[in-house]
């Protein structure tokens, strides 16, 4: 079971949109039931990060993060999503 942290400025609007998108991609690629996503504000991400396998965010990577970072803005625009999808799959398989 992977713990995924999903953050945006407020922890509510764009992280909610990305949550739906990423869950769908994971489920369709054989990861259904193998992950749990928690949304938060980006300002809370660094302190929470040591308890999570990776962080997806629609902001810049925060400083001093204790887990890998995956850029999430591409899931809003649909532009250049493959590098983030590949990174998520790689982290799921670790």
């Amino acid at each position: 079971m992977k713990s995924i942290l999903l953050a945006c400025g407020s922890g509510i609007v764009t992280s909610t949109a990305v949550n739906g998108k990423v869950s769908k991609i994971l489920d369709e690629n054989g990861f259904k039931g193998q992950y749990k996503i928690t949304q938060c504000k980006i300002t809370e991400a660094t302190s929470k990060s040591s308890n999570y396998d990776f962080l997806i965010a629609t902001t810049m990577a925060p400083k001093d993060l204790k887990c890998p970072f995956v850029p999430g803005v591409c899931f809003l625009t649909g532009v250049n999503t493959q590098p983030s999808i590949d990174k998520i799959f790689e982290l799921m398989k670790e």
Partner: protein, 165 residues
Amino acid sequence: MEEILKDVYLDPDLIEVKLKAKNWDEVLQKMGELFFKKKIVKASFIPAVISREKIFSTGLQCNDIGVAIPHTDSEHVNTQSIAIAVLEEPVIFKQMGDSEINVRVNIVFMLAIKEPHKQLDFLQALMTVFQDQGKLKSLLDCNKAEDVVKRFISFFKIDQGKEAD
């Protein structure tokens, strides 16, 4: 469409076509006033949405078209709604997630969100619109606020049951 937009207040009074603005602050100010006149938001929404945009920019380059989705905390919101401005000339916003990048924004979707977790379908469907150049272009071609509302509603009708890419 009824399902997706049922809790989102849509009104031609919240739509501007050919909005003129010198910079992103002015866009947010004018759109915030549209909301405030209709009591969609509290007076505190306008300074809050502007200061949030400075920290967490919301420009999104969707292939050829730039959009922005300014929003702020739900404490400033009375009613869930969306205001849409088609800009007469593109205005520079900073890219979401990378403030080093400028986005020439053509259309601004200002969100008044009260209960985001109940709005998953709406937010998802809105992102699907951003991923469809034809839909965004069709908004750029509108000359009247009523046409923007009609087109916008039609996007959610067409999309129902379709897979987002």
